[in-house]
Structure formats: C-alpha cells, structure tokens
Symmetry: D3
Subunit: 285 residues, 6 copies
Amino acid sequence: MEQLSPCQKADVLIESLPYIKKFYNETVVIKYGGNAMINEELKQTVIQDIILMRFVGMKPVIVHGGGPEITDMMRKLGKEPQFIDGLRVTDQETLEITEMVLLGKINRQIISLINNNGVKAVGISGKDGNMIKAKLKNPKLGFVGEVEEIDIDLIHTITDKGYIPVISPIGCGSNGETYNINADEVAGKVAAALGAKKLVLITDVKGVMKDQSDTSSIISHIKTHEIRQYIQEQIIGGGMIPKVHCCFHAVTNGVERAHIIDGTKLHSILLEIFTNKGIGTMITN
Amino acid sequence: MEQLSPCQKADVLIESLPYIKKFYNETVVIKYGGNAMINEELKQTVIQDIILMRFVGMKPVIVHGGGPEITDMMRKLGKEPQFIDGLRVTDQETLEITEMVLLGKINRQIISLINNNGVKAVGISGKDGNMIKAKLKNPKLGFVGEVEEIDIDLIHTITDKGYIPVISPIGCGSNGETYNINADEVAGKVAAALGAKKLVLITDVKGVMKDQSDTSSIISHIKTHEIRQYIQEQIIGGGMIPKVHCCFHAVTNGVERAHIIDGTKLHSILLEIFTNKGIGTMITN
Amino acid sequence: MEQLSPCQKADVLIESLPYIKKFYNETVVIKYGGNAMINEELKQTVIQDIILMRFVGMKPVIVHGGGPEITDMMRKLGKEPQFIDGLRVTDQETLEITEMVLLGKINRQIISLINNNGVKAVGISGKDGNMIKAKLKNPKLGFVGEVEEIDIDLIHTITDKGYIPVISPIGCGSNGETYNINADEVAGKVAAALGAKKLVLITDVKGVMKDQSDTSSIISHIKTHEIRQYIQEQIIGGGMIPKVHCCFHAVTNGVERAHIIDGTKLHSILLEIFTNKGIGTMITN
Amino acid sequence: MEQLSPCQKADVLIESLPYIKKFYNETVVIKYGGNAMINEELKQTVIQDIILMRFVGMKPVIVHGGGPEITDMMRKLGKEPQFIDGLRVTDQETLEITEMVLLGKINRQIISLINNNGVKAVGISGKDGNMIKAKLKNPKLGFVGEVEEIDIDLIHTITDKGYIPVISPIGCGSNGETYNINADEVAGKVAAALGAKKLVLITDVKGVMKDQSDTSSIISHIKTHEIRQYIQEQIIGGGMIPKVHCCFHAVTNGVERAHIIDGTKLHSILLEIFTNKGIGTMITN
Amino acid sequence: MEQLSPCQKADVLIESLPYIKKFYNETVVIKYGGNAMINEELKQTVIQDIILMRFVGMKPVIVHGGGPEITDMMRKLGKEPQFIDGLRVTDQETLEITEMVLLGKINRQIISLINNNGVKAVGISGKDGNMIKAKLKNPKLGFVGEVEEIDIDLIHTITDKGYIPVISPIGCGSNGETYNINADEVAGKVAAALGAKKLVLITDVKGVMKDQSDTSSIISHIKTHEIRQYIQEQIIGGGMIPKVHCCFHAVTNGVERAHIIDGTKLHSILLEIFTNKGIGTMITN
Amino acid sequence: MEQLSPCQKADVLIESLPYIKKFYNETVVIKYGGNAMINEELKQTVIQDIILMRFVGMKPVIVHGGGPEITDMMRKLGKEPQFIDGLRVTDQETLEITEMVLLGKINRQIISLINNNGVKAVGISGKDGNMIKAKLKNPKLGFVGEVEEIDIDLIHTITDKGYIPVISPIGCGSNGETYNINADEVAGKVAAALGAKKLVLITDVKGVMKDQSDTSSIISHIKTHEIRQYIQEQIIGGGMIPKVHCCFHAVTNGVERAHIIDGTKLHSILLEIFTNKGIGTMITN
C-alpha cells in the first residue's frame, strides 16, 4: 500500500466515529467459518478486526464451524463421512470426533490467536454450563441437534469480565446426550438470545447473488418478507437457504441486522461495520 | 448393602457435621485420573462425591489427566507414542492430538457427568483466559511444559457463579505456543494458587507403601521433611516421585493437606473427607 | 449403635444428596416446643439437626414456644395461671412474665446451644425492628394477640449475614402495646411471609392419628380440602386444631409443605427432611 | 415554658448546626441507667434525645444496666441479693434471673419506647451472634464476667440497616457459659471497639465533684493523666471509680471523649451534645 | 436576642423532631431569587437554612435566578434590556450575557457560600450533561426557552455523592442552541422530575394576598382547583401568575406541597419547614 | 482529500489498534487553549478528536484557558488589563470578570460542542466541590493563585458516569476567597493528581524549537534532566518556560508523558496519540 499521510489517517479515524458510536456497548455475534479459518493471512485479519471491535466498545461473540476439519479427522481415523441434504450423518463415533475437533482443535486455534493479540478469550461449547439445550433434528441424521433454548448466563459471565467468548456448536439433550449442531443456527440463536445488534455470517461467497456466475449481481439488502420469493425464484438456494433462515430467525427475534459476507476479502468484518456501503448481503426485518 | 434404619442414617449425617464445618467454603482441588476415569461405576461415584462436596459448601476444582486415551488416539491415527522417563515426547502432531483428546473428549465427558447430576460445570484449559503460563521443560521432550504461573481470575469467575471448573492440563508459552503439562503438576500448582484447603490426587495405587506387594504396608502420613529419606530408601519411587513432588509444592505453598488416594475404591474422596481415618497417604508440611 | 463400615456411611451421605439439592437455598421454619425443649438429649439433637440443615445450604428459622416455663415462673412469683380454651389469660403482670421468660430465658438457651455448636444465632422477638404487628385476639384473654403482619426485613438482615434467627412469639400493637402470641401461629405466619419451602411443628404427639390410643393409626398426609372433614369426625381435635390451622395458613400462602412431627423421637427433623418416608403428618395444599 | 417566637426557634436550630456537623456519621455509645430508666418523664426525654441524634446523622448505640430491677425480681422470687465491693454475687439462679430481667424486661421497655417514637430498635445481648466474649472476673463473685473481646459485626449489621441497637450486658465464656457483666464496662468496651466519637454514661450524680455535698464543685474536665491523683485524693471514689475506669479505657482506645452526666436532668444528653458548655464531667486522653 | 436557657434550646430541638422525621431523605427544591440574593445577612441565613436541611437528612436542590444582575451587566456593556410581558427579549448577545452572569457569577457566589459553610456544592446549568431540553417559547422573545424535559441523572450523580446541586436556568435545544429559561419554571419542572416532597419559591412578597396593601390578608393555603377563580378575581395577578403556574405544575406532577414565601424574612425556609404554621402561601393539589 | 479505498481505511483502523490498546482505560488530560479555541474548523476537530478518544476507551479530561476573551470582556467593560511577567494583575473586579468569562462563556462553548457531538460533558471550576485548593501566588498580582491541592473526587464522580469533565482554572483559598489560576498549571496538577497517562498542552507554537524562526528545528523529545540546560541556553524561554514547568511537574509526579503541541494543525491530538512519530515536543522523566 502506498503510504498515507498522517492527515489522511486522522480523517479515516474521524470518519469511523459515527460507526463506533452506533455500536458502542452493543453485542455483535460473528459466525466464523469457511476459508477465512484456513488461510493464514485471513485468519489474522479476522482476529484483528474482532479485537478492534472489542477495543472500540463492542462486545463480540464468536461462534465457529469446522466441517472440513471434521471430515479430515474422520478420514484419518478411517471413517467415511456421509451427508443427507448437506447435513452430516452423525453416529456416536462421528459425534465424538466432531466434538473433539470443534472444541479441542478449532476453538483452541481461535482462542490462541485472540490471546496472542492481547485480549483474553474463553472457549466454550453448549455443554459448558449446560448452555445450549438441543433436541434431535431428524432420526436419520443421528446425533444432529437443533437448538431448543440458549442459557445466556455463562456468556454474560465471560463477557462481563472482559473475556471474548468463542463458542463451539455442540448442544445437550434433556437426557444428557450430546448433539452436533449447525454453527450458523447456533450463531443465529445466540444472537437472538443476547439481543445482539448485529449478526455476521462469514462465508466463502460474496452474499446472495441474482446470478451465481456474476459477482456484480449481489443483492445488498433483503427484507424478511422478500425471502420466500427469492427462494421460489431459486436466487436463494442450496447452502444459502439455511444461512438465510438463521438470519431470518435472528432479525425476527430482536437482532437489528444480519449480514452474509465474504470472508475471503481482507477485513470484511471491519468494512461491514465501519463503512456506509457495507459488503455482502444484509437482511433486516 | 443391608438396609440401615433411619436412625442409623441420621447418625451418619450428624457424624459428618464436623467435617462439613471444617471444609465449609474451602476449596478442594481434585486431580481426577487413572482407572477412576474408565470404570463406569467409579466414574459415577467420583462425580457424586464431588457434587456432594459442592452442596455441603465446599468449592471443588477438578483437574483431569488422560494419558491412556491420548495414546489410544495417537495409535488410531497411526502414530506410536514415545516416552522419556515416563513423560510423553510431544511433537507438534502429538501436541494437537493431546489437546484435542484432553479438552475435546475427556473434559467433555466429565462436564457431561456433572451436568447430568444437577450441577453446572464449565470446562477450560490453561489457554482459556491465558490461565496457565508455561515454559519448555526439556527440549528433548518437545512441547512438554512446566507451569510458570497460574492466573486464577477465570477460575474465580467460574466458581463465583456456582459452576464447577474442570481443567485440562494445557498451558501457553510467552510466545503463544501451546504446552502439554503433567496433570498432577497442574493440580498442585492450581491448589497452591487458589490457597486450597486440600489437594487430592486420585490414582490407581493405594498410596505410598513400604512394600509394594503388601497393601497393608501403606504409610498414612508423610511430613515434607521425611520425603527425601523415603526417596533415598526407594519407598517413594517411579511414578510416585512426581506425584509426591506436586504434593510437596502444594503443602509448602499454603495448601493444608495433600492426599494420594486409591481411585479404584468406591467413594474414596468422600471417605477421605468425611471420616477421621482417611485412606491413602497424606502429606503435610 | 453397632459400627457401620465407611462404605455404608458413604452410601448414606450419597443417599442424602437428592434431599440436599431439593432444599438448597430454601427456608425452613421450625416451631420448636414441647418436650424436645426440656429433655437434654433431645435438645442437643434438635440443635444438631438444625445446624446440619444450615451447613448443607438450607436457611433454618426457629420459632419457639415456652408455655410450661411461663407457668412455672408465674407460680414462683405467686400467680396462678388461668386458661380459656387452652389459651393463657394474660393480664399486664402475666404479659411481663411471659415476655421475660420467652426472650430472657428460653430464647437465650436456644441461642447458647446453637452458638456452642459453631454457628452464630441471634434471638429476636416480634418487637425487635417492629417485626410482628399484632392486634387483640379476644378481650377476655387480655394481652393475647393475633398476627396482623410480618415485616421480614429484620429476619433477612440476620440470615443474610449467616446468623440463625431464633424468634420469641411476642408482637406489638398499633399503639405500641405488647402481645403474647401463640408460637404455632407465629411460625405459620413467618413461614408464609418468608415463602418458606417447609414448616415443621415439633410437638409431643406423633401427628394426626385416627385413633389417639394407637400410634400406628397416624395419617401421614392430609390435603387442605380434607381438613374440615377430619375436624367434623373429631380425628383432628383439641390442641391439634390450632396447629392444623397454622399449617393450613402456611400451605395456602405459598409454603410447599407443613409437618406436624414428634419431637420426642431422636433426629425427627432430620428424618423428616432427609428420608423419603417422612414421619408424622404432612399437610399440603 | 413561656412561648418562644419562631425566630428564636430558628436561631436555636441554626446554633445547633456546628454540633450536628461535628457528630455527623459518628457513633455515640450511651450507657443508659439509673433513675433516668425509672422516672417516666425522664425515660421519654432520653429516648427523644437519642432519636433526635439518629435523625441528625449520628449513630447512637445504647447499652443499658438494670441493677435495681434485678434485685427486685430476685426478692420476688425469694432470693436475697449479696454484694462484694458493690458487685452482685451471681450464682446460677441469680444469673438466670439477671439475664431474664435484662433482656426480657428492661431491654424490651427501651426498644418499645424507641419503636413508639418512629425509629426501629433491635435488642441484643452479648450472646447474640456471640458478640461479647467474656471470662470469669473473680471466683468469689460467681458468674460475673469481664469483657475479653467485642465482635462488632452484629452491631454493624444492625446499624447499617438503620436500626438502633440496644445492648444488654451479658457475655459468653469460651465454654459457652453465660456471664453477667457491668454495663458501664460493656459500654466502654463497645465504644472502643466501634471507634465511637463519644461515650456518654448516664448516672444519678452530676459528675465528679470535689465536694460531694456541693454540686457546684463539679469538675467539668478530667484528663486521663489526672485520674490517679483524683483517686488518691478520694475525689473519685466509691461507685465512681469503675465508671471512670470505663471512660479511661474508652478514651485511651480511640474514643474522643467520655462523659459522666446526670440523667435526672431533662435532656441531659442533648445538652451535652448540642451546647458548648456541656454538663457533668468530661474525660479525654 | 435575649439569652435562652439550655432547657429552652433542648425543647426547640425536640419540637423540630417531627418535622425532621417528615422530610427525612426527601428532596426539597428551592428557587432562590430576589432580595434574598442581595442582602448580605439574608444570603447567609438562606444558606445556613439549606445546610441545616442537608444535615438533618433532607436533599436540598437549589435553582437560582438573577434578573437584576443580568440587567446590570447588560447596561455596563451598553445594551438596554427590553421586556415583553415581563419576559426579557433575548438576542444572541443578551443570551451570552445571561449565561455568563447566571453560571459565571451568581451560581459561583452561591456555591462559594455553601462551600464556606462546610458542605460541598456543585454548580451546573441545564447544558451540563444535557440536563434541560428546551424549545423556543415565543419567536418575539428570541432565545427564551421553555422546558421540554429534565434528565435527572446528573442531579442524582451529584446528590448521591453528598454535594448540593446549584442549578442555573439555562437549557439546550434539539439543535444544540442555548435557551434562557425562567428560573421559577425550571424549579417547578425539576421538582416534578425529582419527585420532590416540597418546592419552595423564595420571593420578595409575603405570598398571595387578598389585598396587596394589607400583608395580613395573605392566603395561607390554595388548592389547585381554586387557582382559576383567584386569577379571575385578580387576587393572583402580574408576576405572581407564572409563579403560581410553576407551583401548579409541580403539585399536579407528584410534588406534595409548593410554597411561595417571603425571602426578606430571616430564616424563612426554616420556619416554613420546621413549624406548624408555615409562612407565605402553600399550594397543594 | 482524494478518496481512499475501503481497504486503505481498514488498514488505518488496524494500524491504530496498538495505540488504542496502549491508552485503554487511561486518563489523558488536555489543556485546550490558544487559536485552537477560536478558529471554527480547529474547534470542531479538537472536539472530534476528544470524542474519538472517549469512544476508543480513553478518559479525556479537559482544562481550558481563555486569556484573550477575558481581556476582550475587560475592555468592553472599560477596564484596561495589566500584566506583570505575562501574568494578569487581578483585582476584585478583574477576578469577577475572569470567573464569569471562563466558566460562563468559554466553558459553556466547549460543553456545547461536546454535547452536540453525542457525548455528555459537565463543566466545572475548582470551586465546584471545593476541588482546587489554591493560595496567593504573589501579592502584586492580586487574586492570582497557585494550586495547593487537587481533590479528584468530583472528577471521578463525573467520569465514572461517562461524562467528560471540562475544567475552568479557578481555585478557592482556605478562607473561601477565589483565585484566578494559570490553565497550564491546573492541567499539570490535575494530570498528576489523576495519575494520567498523558498530558497534552495545545498551544499556538509547534513545540520547543532550537531556532524560533525555523520550524524544522523542533526538539521532539526532552528529558527532565535536560530542561535546566535548555533554559540556560534560552532555547526554552518566554511563555514556554511555565508550560515546560507544568510538564516537568506532571512527569515527575507519575504522568508518563507530557506533550506541547501545535493546536493550529488539524487533528493534532489524534496524530499525537495514534501515530508513532508524534508531533510537537514530548517531555518525559
């Protein structure tokens, strides 16, 4: 980057002030997933963005996914993953691998990154403090759960002391059984339960696009009442459908805005929060 | 068990009162490891004992180990474990497996058991909140660390809200690197840092015995100044040496008593705490 | 008592866990009266039971009576007690003796017993902090009052600091006059005002019995709607009627269960709370 | 009293302002005894004075005596009081009567008076909350104790909630036994333990007088180093000696001023606190 | 003044007790204006009265005016004041002078007087903490505002720490503009917003009088429903009308009593508060 | 300014992170004076800078001067200012004008600017809450004071509630008299009393320059032990001497760094805080 003058830098900081004011003391839930979790430079910038958010007065809460690493570990252990409608069939052994990889590996990497940037993070799953109550989604899928209730006490305990919470999408059933839950769903439900100002889903696509082959066809703003139509027209389709549903749940339950943004773009979260234009697709009620 | 009369039961409860008073509001650190983590009945009774401790006013803090399960997972992943002087040589891959198994698997099982018994548990490792600062123990061992400092803020945050903390023995270096640490060592250091009343190491042996083949030769009480002699006489030897060292560290740093007890005996913790005789070997300063 | 094995003791403790959980942080109001206040061994066991309750997380509140000692002191002072329908006719002199014996003698004995068992007690009457507002019950009875209102601030002030409150049944009228009140009534009203989980009336009888001469005819459970019938059938009669009325008031005002138990049985409170069967007669709404 | 003009009244209030400022938020311990406890008009004015003190920001703590009423009750019960050097010989029976009369009778009258004047009082003895630890003073005197230690927690608990504490001079020994203690001594020790600004002993004499038959010979100010001399000269003698000793203890342990004042004078406390001249004898270090 | 005896003084203090009780912990808003702000002796007594109020447990809040000093400064600066219906026409220059004189001069004098009497005062205007939101009253009057909303947070912040707030009647418009507001109006609105017990307007007249030339014709009590009639009969007229309107607003919005009193009488506030008769005119709902 | 790309903006924000972390929760005292208080654009940018500081977690405290406006008002009122060694000779009339202009005019402008930018400000002088105790500096100067003691309670009361304090440099003497104090001195003493991280003096010069006619000769860093030499060499001279003395006092009393910066440069504070190079002259111990 060509060097900016001090004056230009000052201007940028001053321009960010209205956005800082707007989100001051507000909770922002970030679903962290996809390539932004793999590429080293992207990883660093996502974490820097989150730390900046924290220091300018926001309360970031991170929910992470980890499908590819689970698949990877399953294969290493000689087990072939199976999917139904994009959801992982989860038998007892798969469940154990999933939990182990999510909390014991991916969550650890994220909190290490945050710790190394000067803010303390605490990693939890929905099992800690019995936080996420879940139930069986579909018997065919095995131990795949859907969220029934979020107990936000533990999250508040963690954020009140200044730690950033990093949540692995695991839930507990009423009989103590463990469930593997979709990370987008957990993010949406957590955002609603916390009364977050914003939900940001970091993905590998630019957002909802009218024409998948044309990135300039991105729809920058969808209102909840338009979703049905977009699905019928197959503009929202495939893996985008559950993401949009999570956003729908969030914004119809008190979250002001939900965003589906492209995590492969450097500082995508920052751009979303600190600029007028925004990037990706925003969903509001 | 033959049926006791109500009156006998009442007597037992009343007899427990002095012990309850003695430990009221006191922290007890329990290193949970060995066979007591594998046998289903033992697992249940250990957890019940801990929950009872909580309800009669103690503050239990659990540190767990997990060597056999790490070895098991390593082999499943095609990696042969190596040991030097009983310590696992830990290369990067082994480290990742260790962290994954400890926090993602064993820690999870323990908090599930506690949750299912009506008290909420929160599982953490030394990485959460940057709790355990560690440094390299010995370059030959790879990422095996020794504890430099314990930051007890996160533990207090968790216990103050009534959750039971369950700690996996992982630490962070000053450059953000991860270390695998011996669980006994973590338990001893955590007990000292918290000013615990008692440290209990649950093991697979009865305690320190004069004659390893004769369980009646158990030494029920060792004072810190006697340890050197016992080691010279090889009464304390092998895997017992590091355990005794942890106890030594704890009791010379403010912990009142440390105990090495036999986890294969049902309700061994309860017997240790609620009876006069105690079981296993007690170490005091 | 024949000696129990450590293992049997552990089992008893573990069996008590569900009861401990159930009453954790709950208030239990105990009306302490009758022979259990006179026999030395019984006195000790009642106090031990209450102290155990405190240490396993309950909040015991004691209300005591003292009829026989008042009568005794009156006679020593040359005054013959008179009763109408079992209630003491209370002229000015009797009132002074009553107050003096209740707070200055009996209350003192109870708090000494508690203090000597390692928990601090604070003795109060309804006059302290203007706690019990009362009004004249019946002009023929003189200064006998009935409770109009309980101000629970002082009780909370005492229990919040960990003291056990011991209450003498004296009340104040709106013009500052003093009233002698039935201790069962005070216990029932205090239990209702505090939202206690349980009210326990310690008496000299086994409970409500179908046949007074046959202790095996005890009715272990009465629902509030059955009380009228039992009174008509004279199964509930005499001194039992006001006791049942207090229980009725308590359970129809938020107390979960009220119990009339035999204080002459060793550890009767403990048996009532820590066993499934219970003893005496339980009244629920 | 002839009627004052509103303007004169306003002047009096304004004149009191410096004294109100001086004692704002300060503790004043008042030993209430002698004729001021018997004469109805004096009783009313003492209580009014104390209530005024409370409302203008002071924290009054009352300690009361009651020798004459104890003697009276003993005689009613057929027991002749015996004294050695002015101290009541206290056998078990006398002790019970003393405790009963102090807490059950006199203390009650005082808290009733306060309650009826619109401030809530709480009566306690040194047994409540194990507040006053005492030991045997002299075996010949029986259960007469001297103060070993004051635990001020209960007093603070009571005053922090806005209640006025009224203390009966009873203490507990280390084996749970009860002691009758001199009220002046308790007042002096309580004042020192609380770091009171002022200790006021209400008595039946005008103060320390050079000539007992001449009330104009009153010594208005004694410094601690002068006490010995006054005793040698027998200006301080008889029952005045222990009173002066209590004052000495108080002012040499942090209390600013101690006063021995004539309780038979109307509003003697008020005059002592709200005027420049003061009445009676003041002792300072 | 002829000297009062100590006993007479004590009686005055005791007589004040019911009034002290009545206003304990209550807020009293005092509009301080007129000659009582100019005459040195009156200034001293007003401040003493307010300080006494503070020490006997009330929470005084002062709102001051300052018309004559503003006029004075305007003339010094060569500007002739203009009035429409008794309200100062306020152009930009007049506004600046007004704000400067009110906060920079008069407010300063008042807080100095309070500070010098041993209580700390903090002077604020409606601009501090954006406390008084105002809007244009009448375009002809220029920057004269009327109160839209009072934000009481800053006042509570100040009084909670024991400072006495002294308020200059300046407000802010929604676009950041400054408004000059009538002090009586600010006092009335602040009293209502704080839920004050009493509003006292210190004026130069004795109160509402039936015959302006006869001070004995003062109406000591007006109920809100009588105001209209008094205005029609021109008993309330001229400058008294806005004062009565402020009182009306206050007492119809939760303030118990409003008083219009004669500030030229020594200790008029004290007499109003600490005597039965009161002075001036009281308005209640 | 040419338009920056979003990516460039994000980079600027990320670059500011280390500075934000460094000053998080730290107090920065800003002396606001000179041309930066007159030029409209500069005024806006100074306030924006301060508001940004607040939102990224710093605690800004503003002290303002106002010499030119005082002189201006004096002349309008027909009074010719006199100076001795650059200090205003302050008779009673000058003092009143000074106080009026500082708190009633300049302070008001600053808090209006802050309020209008979305943060609440509270303006105080050293008289409010008796905050600044001062004494006579030099009898020839009249009511010019020097700071004796700063009571930081009121400042903390204001900042704890999130208001930005704006301080006018007025102090009170021990006899209640008012003093006009140099604003730089107040800023330095307040910074030391608050344990500020940084003191920033905004002036009309670039900093300390070796050659006053050559702005490139600015000395960017002076250590306290070098000051004497610079004064001897007359590199520090004239009006710069008292400024440097204030900085000296601050950094030798716990403030980490003091800065003398050029307020005529846009966003000078921001550049000082958020860039590595800094501007103006920094003084450290």
